[in-house]
Subunit: 330 residues, 2 copies
Amino acid sequence: MKKIINEASHVVNEMLEGMVAAYPQELRRLEGYDVVVRNTLHQAKVALVSGGGSGHEPAHGGYVGRGMLDAAVAGAVFTSPTPDQVYEAIKAVDTGKGVLLIIKNYTGDVLNFEMAADMAAEDGIKVDKVIVNDDVAVENSTWTTGRRGIAGTLFVHKIAGAKAEQGACLEAVKKVAEKVIANVRTMGMALTPCTVPEAGKPSFDIGENEVEIGLGIHGEPGTHREILRKADEIVEHLMDKILADLSLNQQDEVAVMVNGLGGTPLMELFIANRKVDQILKEKGISIGKTFVGNYMTSIEMAGFSISILKLDEELKSLLLEPASTPAFKN
Amino acid sequence: MKKIINEASHVVNEMLEGMVAAYPQELRRLEGYDVVVRNTLHQAKVALVSGGGSGHEPAHGGYVGRGMLDAAVAGAVFTSPTPDQVYEAIKAVDTGKGVLLIIKNYTGDVLNFEMAADMAAEDGIKVDKVIVNDDVAVENSTWTTGRRGIAGTLFVHKIAGAKAEQGACLEAVKKVAEKVIANVRTMGMALTPCTVPEAGKPSFDIGENEVEIGLGIHGEPGTHREILRKADEIVEHLMDKILADLSLNQQDEVAVMVNGLGGTPLMELFIANRKVDQILKEKGISIGKTFVGNYMTSIEMAGFSISILKLDEELKSLLLEPASTPAFKN
């Protein structure tokens, strides 16, 4: 295992220390917890809390800030955060307007965030949740009942975050988050596995010229393996699956995210985006906004995902609102 | 070679197509050239042009925009752009206030940018240049006489860009760029080589537990190879070399960049930043601003560099000025 780390068992703690050291104006660590909190809480807004296993950086700590999240909870690598950590995050950011939990659909995450919500509700905090399940690759998976939540989660952070920042009530913020979830689809592929530091070896073996289509962000199996094809063919396949599930018509407008899984050079993401752009334009679909980069990663995995969000006037306007977080600025 | 590409010989062209497709409001391609230009030129400012071989994305096209570059010229992967390409970039962005070329110190880049400057001068365009040589690892190298120009170049783009945006004259923009160059030092290390698409195989071989200290962003040899040590020890070594070359005293203020080479997970960059932060604070040096991410890459190389910029009031103020480019926003 070749990694720039000290001890495998310290990676999450040391990563969080390095993160808050980098952005002391924006972030603070909740003392004694693996929770990153917005430094200056906006006192009159619904608070947004997300998180999950570590290894998906900049998700989710990098999205804490003005116009996005108020707290992010970091579990061990690829492991759900425990309910007490989520509970502390909720308590730290609630200002009386309520808290919305944005949960990626993994069984452990859903269970632990829900337990935390129950604990907070007993304290009289108004808590609600949405569950993101944007991955069209497979129904059910290693750690998931139903579809997995992956890079499309970013659009939920951004749009619900903008709505909350405008002072909307918890019900309204939840409603727009659910609208994003109903309109976003993602599918990915990988060239290489990744190595969880405490495991010390790659999460799976894959042949020299082989790729995995539709895999999850923890290396969960996808739809199939195949010999590496040209970028344009791969993108066509992923877009076919996405567009088969997300009904789009001519004149519709979308937002696009071409997301690197951590080890993919930006050059390749741009080459993929070129084809995404061509496919959408050929169908008469316009693109309101495109994001290309490492937004939701799998440690150092090489590969990428495509997310398509169908926009309406409200979603577009909220997507384009200012946001200022370490990893996402508008 | 496992890459998300179509043809190895098309990567630069297709990458640029995918880049301008992603940011149509910010960027346009100079038709017929591998040049990316700021979409709306600021008519009354010195223009900044940079570039170099491709493979360092988001450098340099990602830094074209308000408060940074006006044009970026993309050579073939790890190959200097030809003088005619640089010449076209200069002509496209000059508005009569003059053009500053920001060149990373590689023999081919310096030669070709200088030839382009001569061609533009014959047209009556006022052109000047600065050469960035921030890499403290080695004197002279595979493609360089003197020190190499690497990630510290970002600080030159940002600070000279802010100065130009304020309407300063060419001499003043050049002067502040030179002040950045005089005050920035960088050193890096790598865990893995990278593969130039047209070569089809890794740029060098390296043992399972071996790392290369001080290597260049094209895989040029560094100071030595060693067995992979703990992150903190690696950072200590790089910081020792940097601080031996950049005289800093208690009370001084610096900006920090922990730069990933393309294949390094953000988790590891934050772990490295944790130690950078500790070392500086122990010395009584304050940190005005920290950047952690993939700013100047070597395709999919795993590894990182540390850049330290000694700030004064002027440099800090310009560094913190707003900027809005695809890959850098303040």
